[in-house]
Amino acid sequence: MANRGGKGSYPPSKSGASNGRQNNSNDVIHLSDSDSDSDDFFEEEAPPTHSKSNGKASSDSLKTGGKASSFSNGSKGGKAFSAGKGGKGSASNAKPAMSDAELKLQLDMPPNSILLSNCEAAEMLQKIQGHMAILSEDPTIKIPESFDKAFQYAKEGNHFTSAKLVKEILEPLKDYGVNDGEICMIANIGPETIEEVYALIPSLKATRSINEGKIVEALAALANIKASK
């Protein structure tokens, strides 16, 4: 495995900052100057090594645990784990390899950012697509390919009929030890059983005694608004 040079491991997120929103006086990200000929989008210093990548990430600098974590319990429930023709990769006998803390969602976005679930992003991008259709009539304006890809991903990752209802169902979980990132992951994955939730979001197991009942209720409510595919 090609070594990209140095241990450029991503700095760990601050404790207690797994929430997508943080209280901070800085609410704007300042970027460097742009030039009419060149682009200087990235404002922070990158790690000192910039050796050309051969398409493979360094396993030394990136692997943190070495072995997979255990998801075998969650694998037995839910349609999402069944293997079929072109189906999702299913579980084999998993051995615990990474601790729940190591697999915890580490959001590291600026404090002024708002986390969007796939359903919210799909609705937002749907509106933008309407405007883009008008703009695309101008031959000098090109719609980026990434927009279509992201829109398609958000639509396909949207398991529910209404983003507003999803938010109403999942928001109360914040009072039971579930942070914004975990709520977003539940909305994005669309789990069917509580075991699936704990298998895919192991950080929730720490507060299982508090949140299990509420998550089960939320899953039942989400099942009622699940979109048929």
């Binding site: 495995m1 450029g8 491991s9 991503y10 990200i29 100057d33 742009s34 009419s36 682009d39 989008f41 990235f42 404002e43 922070e44 990158a46 990548s53 493979k56 360094s58 600098s61 990136l62 692997k63 943190t64 997979a68 998801f71 293997a83 023709k85 072109g86 189906g87 990769g89 299913s90 579980a91 998993a94 190591e102 697999l103 915890k104 580490q106 959001l107 976005m109 708002i114 986390l115 969007l116 796939n118 992003a121 937002m124 991008l125 933008i128 304006i141 090109k142 980026p144 390919e145 990434s146 927009f147 992201a150 991903y153 990132g181 992951m185 994005n188 298998a199 895919l200 979001i201 950080s203």
Partner: protein, 180 residues
């Protein structure tokens, strides 16, 4: 994950664009320069949703260009450690397979695919387990969990594993379009 975020950028405009439509020209240039790009810090800029503020322009000495600080809102997409991505396999070959999760492309090397999954060539190349229970081919949906990330100026490298499996896979997630 998707985020709605406010960013600021200094836009330079040539004097030939000055006039009653200066703001429109600035916004059009902003969209052209920013949409579709990827930065290691914020991820992929999917779309600009609005312009909050355009500050006063400052003439740059020697060039005549004017720099405007522009504050704008945009939707970005970026993978994080601990996140689960549902990706669709786009190509399978003996070196591994490519998958897409939105605007990011994921390459999973065959070196890190377990030995019990063998590459099967043919009309529909695929990786199949020895018992035939799992097959990864084009259009297959795979669920990947990111267990590590490293950011660079224009790309994000991630280590992923198949959610609900013991596969440990390193891959590079890179943008479809370079930042410049």
């Amino acid at each position: 994950m998707f985020f709605h975020i406010v960013l600021e950028r200094n836009m330079q405009l040539h004097p030939r664009h000055f006039g009653p439509h200066l703001r429109d020209k600035l916004v059009a240039k902003l969209m052209k320069d920013v949409e579709g790009t990827c930065s290691g810090r914020h991820g992929f800029v999917v779309a600009i949703t609005g312009v909050e503020d355009i500050g006063k322009g400052l003439i740059r000495e020697g060039t005549g260009f004017v720099t405007f600080p522009v504050k704008y809102q945009c939707v970005v997409f970026r993978p994080f450690k601990g996140e689960i991505l549902e990706a669709v396999v786009t190509m399978v070959n003996k070196m591994g397979f490519f998958a897409e999760a939105g605007p990011v492309q994921i390459f999973v090397s065959n070196h890190l695919i377990p030995d019990d999954m063998e590459f099967q060539s043919g009309d529909v190349p695929n990786y199949t387990t020895s018992d035939g229970s799992v097959k990864i081919q084009k259009e297959s949906e795979v669920r990947l969990k990111i267990i590590g990330t490293r950011v660079d100026a224009t790309e994000i490298a991630c280590v992923v594993l198949f959610a609900n499996s013991n596969l440990d896979i390193a891959c590079l997630i890179s943008p479809r379009k370079p930042a410049y």
